[in-house]
């Protein structure tokens, strides 16, 4: 088939998890604008922003309300029109404390004047991406302009668009493919043009035939003017969509420990991020809202929603009919890598792609196993896409042996959770891995 690429190299490990893509055929609906948004100033990996507005200021949708002079940081824009009511410290779901701008909406959603950015070369393109406020929408929240600002000597030959969406439940990237195929195409063209990348590979899992059709059309449309865009269909298996895995599948290259995709000639972007780039270059409207999947056994009406940044989680749950039973666990993000919330009083961040709630009766997968002794069955190693031996790492961590931990590749761990998922002894292996990493970091500081 024209434009379809077979994965070059099969990744090791991983786990087969039920997909639970219940909301796949649910179009994204815009949530009614909340009365109040709390826009945190820490929205990305890297430096937080400082508010550029003061209490009492009137703002429109898209007005800049936070910025930073640090390099690894992206500006933040108001997601509603109204008045800045308060600037205060809040606690984020991660437990971190961040400054936040609380804006009272006037309900009009009046937009600022957007003009498409003037983009003519790499430099102006990177600048435009920075001014769009884009951070990785796949969940990591890494400022896009930093990712796209490649080192001078880097030889980048491949742009990989990640539409794998391998985490269970989440369907927003899938919806992005179905609803905004043209934006994806424009984003792809822009990034390839201004970064001078000759080859584009769109990676998608084979459990999304409709998305594959759309993406193939994109590849075909583009191939009329050259043979640049290919689509790569991956067998659906968690964590195929992880950056390192997807680069390996697409190019056969492996990122060495501690290195970046650019070190192996690749740039990887989430499909929603690339679609946003396409939209932004057309309209000049910065990142003020994002799509989220709201699902799980405790949610009355599972939905895909478009949410203004800063909307409170409980408002989103209310919009989805509230809980149909008492939730036992609420997760922000996917069930494999997401974060369990201690409540609902948290604001939406740019990187949040899902809000899931599960009941206690969810005896299936959620039920926590009783922790028993490790029997060295090796299932953690078998499922580790990075080829680590988590059970050994646990042992070294108990002995606080930083040298052995480093040698065992602890820092390569991406915390995908495959090991803990498959452990028959119910060990919280990801937690152990985090502990192991902190032991190494401590030893390095000393």
């Amino acid at each position: 088939m024209k434009g379809v690429l077979k994965p070059v190299k099969k990744g090791r490990g991983g786990v087969d998890i039920a997909h639970f893509k219940n909301t796949a055929e649910t179009p994204v609906v815009r949530i009614p604008t909340p009365k109040l948004v709390t826009v945190a100033m820490q929205q990305n990996i890297g430096a937080p922003c400082t508010p550029t507005v003061a209490v009492g200021d009137a703002v429109l949708v898209g007005d800049k309300i936070g910025d930073s002079d640090k390099y690894v940081s992206a500006p933040i824009f108001s997601s509603v029109s109204g008045t800045v009511k308060e600037i205060k410290d809040i606690r984020l779901a991660s437990g971190a404390v961040s400054k936040a701008v609380v804006i009272e909406s006037d309900g009009r959603d009046a937009e600022a004047d957007f003009t498409p950015p003037d983009v003519h070369d790499t430099e102006s393109f990177i600048k435009a991406v920075r001014e769009s406020g884009l951070v990785g929408l796949g969940g990591a929240g890494f400022p896009a302009h930093v990712k796209l600002n490649l080192p001078q000597n880097a030889k980048i030959d491949t742009l990989i668009i990640n539409a794998a969406e391998c985490e269970p439940f989440i369907t927003v990237d899938y919806r992005e493919c179905l609803e905004h195929g043209d934006d994806i195409l424009e984003g792809v063209n822009a990034v390839a043009k201004y970064l001078n990348i000759k080859r584009v590979i769109i990676a998608v899992e084979n459990n999304k035939p409709k998305a594959i059709r759309v993406l193939r059309d994109i590849a075909d449309a583009d191939n009329d003017s050259g043979d640049k865009v290919k689509i790569m269909i991956l067998k659906s298996r968690y964590p195929q969509g992880a950056e390192k895995m997807i680069i390996q599948s697409a190019t056969g290259r492996r990122i060495p420990p501690g290195k970046l995709p650019s070190d192996v000639g690749c740039v990887v972007m989430n499909v929603a991020s690339i679609a946003f780039v396409g939209r932004y270059l057309k309209t000049g409207k910065p990142l003020v809202s994002r799509s989220m999947t709201v699902d799980g056994t405790a949610i009355k009406e599972p939905k895909n929603v478009r949410v203004p940044i800063g909307t409170s989680m409980d408002y989103i749950i209310d919009f989805c009919g509230g809980f149909n039973a008492e939730p036992e666990k609420i997760v922000c993000g996917g069930p494999m890598m997401g974060m369990a919330l201690s409540g609902l009083n948290y604001p939406t961040l740019k990187g949040n792609n899902a809000l899931l709630a599960f009941t206690k009766a969810d005896k299936g997968a959620l039920a926590v196993k009783k922790e028993t002794d490790c029997i060295r069955c090796g299932k953690c190693h078998e499922s580790c896409p990075m080829g680590l031996v988590p059970t050994n790492i646990v042992r070294f961590a108990k002995a606080k042996d930083a040298e052995k931990l480093k040698h065992a590749g602890t820092l390569v761990c991406m915390e995908c959770g495959s090991c803990a998922y498959s452990c028959p002894a119910g060990k919280p292996l990801v937690q152990h891995m985090r502990l192991a990493k902190s032991i190494i970091r401590e030893a390095q500081v000393k």
């Binding site: 990122i255 939730p327 369990a340 997968a365 069955c377 190693h381 990075m386 590749g409 390569v412």
Partner: protein, 323 residues
């Protein structure tokens, strides 16, 4: 809100877990042993059930009381003591006196397993230690087997392995060997039943093919050379003694085998080589137990050699670092 907060579970990711548990795995192993138990009952009669149940009960009791005395938490719920009990019973002749089996159970559970910290910590296979203790303590009782389907009185006539060693072909037909009509220990005689168990373990993903296939394959290759290309001889060697039982159920013990695929292959090949060497050159007719125990001891070294390097580790710099 605060009410909700108190009720929510907050824990580290992942929030989903597979349903597989340790006791579930052990239960699968027990299920996989059932065909052999049934076959053994048909072949050796009620002695099979007596020895197996005594062995299982003793192992569970030893596990329970030894852990209690050592003030450790109770682990009989993980069912691993039942597996050990069954396997040890499978490793003795039907004519073995009951009290001797209890001694074997003691060494298996208390000495080999609990003294080293219990499940997951023992460095040699407990059931095999039990068997070796019995072999060295009661060599004549462990070395004479009742005739299948006939009586429970042990006869001292040569087993297929002994005949093979002296260069003769066994009297049993290959088909008879396959279905277990030969002298031997309780659980080792019926190859057919053991293979059913093997397939079950593979299907349930309790074990992978690496250890059993490499182990038996290595023995087959060596025996093919030793037998100068005689395939009949190779088939007799494969089905005689405890090779299938050892390769499928004993060498694959998680705790005492390597975790990586490469390690598993090295380990199993080692088992196969030692088994063949003992069978061809050794004084004993059978070498499965000793070969597995020896390779058990080497597992840490094999792991050190064979564990794959973390994702993306460049080959060169790693060597430099090791130096």
């Amino acid at each position: 809100m605060s009410e909700l907060q108190q009720k929510l579970t907050v824990s580290a990711s992942p929030h989903f877990r597979s349903r597989q548990t340790t006791s579930g795995i052990m239960l699968d192993v027990i299920v996989a042993l059932v065909p052999s138990l049934v076959a053994s009952y048909i072949i050796f009669g009620v002695r099979t059930l007596v020895l197996s149940s005594v062995s299982v009960i003793s192992c569970v009791a030893f596990e329970y009381f030894s852990r209690r005395i050592m003030k450790r938490h109770n682990t009989i719920g993980d069912l691993s003591a039942i597996v050990t009990g069954l396997l040890l019973a499978f490793n003795v002749p039907a004519s073995m006196p009951v009290w001797t089996v209890i001694i074997g159970d003691f060494f298996a559970i208390v000495i080999a397993k609990q003294f080293f910290g219990g499940i997951g910590q023992n460095f040699v296979n407990p059931a095999l230690i039990g068997r070796i203790v019995l072999m060295s303590s009661f060599p004549s009782k462990m070395g004479s087997f009742p005739e299948p389907l006939v009586s429970t009185v042990p006869i001292t006539s040569a087993t297929p392995l002994v005949l093979l060693k002296s260069g003769e072909m066994p009297a049993e037909s290959l088909l008879g060997m396959f279905f277990g009509l030969r002298g031997g220990c309780l659980g080792e005689v019926c190859t057919a039943a053991l293979l059913i168990g093997f397939v079950y373990l593979l299907v349930r993903r309790v074990i992978s093919w690496h250890i059993p296939v490499t182990y038996m394959g290595t023995v087959a290759v060596i025996m093919l050379i030793a037998g100068k290309g005689d395939f009949e001889y190779v088939l007799y060697e494969l089905m005689a003694g405890g090779l299938v039982l050892g390769a499928v159920f004993m060498a694959t013990d998680y705790t005492t085998s390597p975790v990586s695929k490469r390690g598993k292959i090295i380990y199993a090949a080692g088992c196969g080589i030692i088994t063949s060497l003992i069978r061809i050159f050794g004084n004993l007719p059978e070498g499965v137990s000793f070969s597995i125990i020896i390779m058990n001891i080497l597992v840490p070294h094999i792991e050190h050699m064979a564990t794959p390097k973390p994702f993306g580790t460049p080959k060169k710099s790693k060597e430099a670092e090791d130096k």
